[in-house]
Amino acid sequence: MNYLTQRLATFPLILLGVSVLVFVSIRLIPGDAITAMLGTEAGLLTPDQRASLAAYFGIDQPIYLQYGRWLVGLFSGDLGISVTYGRPVLAVILERFPLTLELALLSMVIALCVGIPAGVLAATRNEGPADLGIRVLAMLGQSTPSFVVGLVIIFVLSVVFGAVPPMGIFTPIYVNPLVNLSQLIFPAITLGFAFAASVTRISRSAMLDVLSDDYVRTARSKGASARSVIWRHAFPNALIPVVTLSGIEFGYLLGGAVIVEQIFALPGIGRLVLDAISQRDYALVEGCVLFIALNFLIVNLLVDLAYAALDPRIRLGGR
C-alpha cells in the first residue's frame, strides 16, 4: 500500500473518533436546544410542552440512539437538518465555506509575502538593527490578540477615515470582487498580522541554521553572489519549517477565525460553529466540526506531500 492510500485509510477512523467526541461533549454541556430557544421562559413549559419540543429537536431519545441515527444518515451523505436554518447541514456549511477559504488564503498570502522576506532579511542581517527591528515587530505581532488588532483597525477606519468596509451583508467574490475584497482585506490583515509574525520568526531561525551550513560556505567561496547564495542555495532548504507552520496555521484558519469573523461581522465557518454551539444546534455543530477536521486532515496530508517535493532526501512512508 503506498503512503497516500495509507494516510487516506486513516481518515474515516479519525473522523469517527472526532464525531463521537463532539456528539457526547455537546450533549454533556448543561442547557439544551429548548433553553437555547426559550431562555428562562423555558421554565413556563408544562411537561407535555417540553416533550413535544424535545421530539421536534430530536433530543427525546437516549444519546446512543441519537448517535446511531445520525451515523446511518452520515453514510448516506446526510448530515442532518439544522434547526436554526431549517436546511440541510451540508448546504449551510458549503454556503459559508467560500468566505472562510478566501479569508484563509488572503491571510496566508499576506503572511507569506510579509513574513518570508522579513525573516530572510533578519537572518542575513543577524543581530544588526534591521534584525532587531524585525524581531521586535514579530514579537509584537505574535503577542497582540487579534481582537485588539481588529478593533484598532475598525476604530481607525471609522474615526480617522470616517468609513468602514460594508459589514453584515457579505458580497461573494463573483458578485462584486471589489466590494468582496474591501470586506475581506482588513480581516485578512488582522489575521495576517499574527500569522506573518510567526512566519517571520520561523523563516529567520531556519535561514540562520541553513546559512551556517557547509554547502553555503562552499557556494560563497566559489564566488556566487549574495543574492544567489540566499535565494537559490539557502532559501529552498529553509522552507520546510515554514511550510509546516503555514500548513498548520492554514488548517486552523479553515476552521474559521471566530474572533475576527465576530468583530468584522463576517458570516464564515467560525461564527457558524459559535452560533450553533450557543443555540445548541446539535446537527450543525457536529457537521461543522467534522468538516473542519476533514479540512485539517487534508491540509496536513498536503503539507507532508510538499516535504517530499521540497526536499528529495525525504521519502514518505518510512522506506
Binding site: G31, E41, L44, D48, Q49, C113, I154, S278
Partner: protein, 507 residues
Amino acid sequence: MGRHFTHGLISGIALAALLGSATIATPAGAATLRMAWAQDATGLDPQKQTAFSSLRLLELIYEPLVRLDATLQVVPAIADSWEFAADGLTLTFKLNPKAKFSSGVPVTSEDVKASFARILDEATAAATRANFLSISGMDTPDPTTIVFHLSQPDAPILVAMATINAAIVPAAEITAGTIGTKAIGSGPFKLDQWNPNASEALSPNADWAGGKTGVDGITISVLPDETAILASLRAGQTDFALLNDPLVATLVPDEPNLQLNRVPGLAYNVLQLNPSRKPMDNLQVRQAISCAVNRQEIIDTALVGEGKVTGPLTMPAYASDPNTLFCYTQDVEKAKQLMKDAGFADGFSATVIAATGEPPVASSEAQVLQSQLAAIGIKLDIKMMELNVYVDAWLKGDFDMAVAQNGGRPDPYPMYNRYFTKDGNLLKVSNYVDDTLDGLMQEGRKETDPAKRKEIFAKFEAHLAEMSPWVWLSTSYSYTAQLKTVHGFEPSPTGTLYSLSKVTLDN
C-alpha cells in the same frame, strides 16, 4: 532588499485602504432603512419565540389583537375595540374590518380563534400559554367579532394579549403547518429574506390596514460586536441600530451625526437569593444583604450611571418610590446587627452565578456586590457561566445567589405570578412564597378597578422588598441609536420597534 520590502508593504496597505474607501462611499439606498443589531432573531413562530430580537422582528410582521403604546396603554391593533362583561367572565373584541394578512386574505374571527387554540394546545409549546389558562371557550358570532369566555375574572389577560406572543396568524397556515417557516402576518412589513445570524430583508406589506409605511423596506444586518455597530453608524453605513451595552451606548452622544434613544425598560437587574439554601433561608440574613447593598453605587460603577434604582415593580403605573421600601438606603450597621442576630456575626461564604455578557454588565455587577457584601463578612465567590449553562442552573434553582436581568411586564400579575404564587411555574427558581404574597396576587388578578389594583400591588411590593427573597437593584435603559437623518421613531419601554413602520428618511 529591505527598502524594496518596506516600499512594497506601504503600497500594499495604501492599496488596501483605497479599496476600502472606494467601495465604502456607496450612497444610501433610496429609502430603505439599514438597521443593525448584535443578536439575530432565533425563529419565526410568533407564538413560540421569546428571544428579544425575535420579538422585535416579528412585531414588524405580525400583529396581536391589541398592543401597548409608548406609555404602556392598551391601544387597538387588529381589534378596533374591546369590552369586559360586568361579571368579568367574557371579553369581546371587534376586529378592524380592513385588517388583512400579507397574502391579501382578510383577518377574521376564525383566525383569532384558531390562533388562541394553537397557543393553548400543549403540543405547540408556547411559553405564554400560562397567561391564557383562564380562557374556557371562544365564540365567533360574525367574522369581525370574537368572544372569549373566561373561567374566572382575569383583568391582566388584556395586557397579556398585547404581546407578539399572542399574534394572530392565518388559520389556513396553522392547518398547513407552515407557521414558523413562512411568515405571513398582518403587520406593516413582510419578510422577504432571512439568513439566520447574518441578515434579514423586509418590504412593506401593501395590505397593511395601517396604510403606507414611511420607508420602502428595512434591511437588518447582524453585527455581533457592538463596537462594530457604532463604527458602522459613525461611517453612515447603518441608519438605525439596537444597542445593549451601556458602555457603547454612552459613546453615541459624542458623535455629531448620531442620536441616542434611551428609554427606561421594564426589565430589572436583581440579586436573587435562594431561600431554600442555608443561610439564605433566614429572613434576617436576607434582610442584612438587602441593607448592606448600595444600589446607586452599583449603578454608578457597574452600569456607568445608566440605570435607576427600582423596587420589584418597574412599570411606572404601579411602581412605588423606592425610598419607601425596606432598607433601600444602605445601612451597614443595621446589616451587621441583623447578621449578628441571625447568628452569623462572622459572616459566611456563598457562590453567586452570573451569565457572560447577558446582560453585558453582569460581571461588573457581581464584582461590586462582592465588595459591598464583604463589609458584613459575606465572602462571595463569582461563577461566570455561558448563557445556556446559566439558564439551566437558574431554572433548576441550583445556585446560592444569582445576578440576573429578568424581563418585566406592563402588569404586575403576569410579571410575578410565575415566581411568587403557590402555583407559579417558576417557584423552583424563586423558592419563596408566603400567604400574604399569594393572597395579594390573587386579589390583584380579579380586581378590575385600576386604583384598587394599584393599592393591592403596592402592598405586594412593600411586603416582597421586606421579605427580601431577592434584592432588586435597578432598571436599565433600552437603547437604540440612529443617524439624525432618521425621523419619527418612538422608543417604548417594551423595546418594541413597531414605530419603525412610520419612520422616514432624509434623502
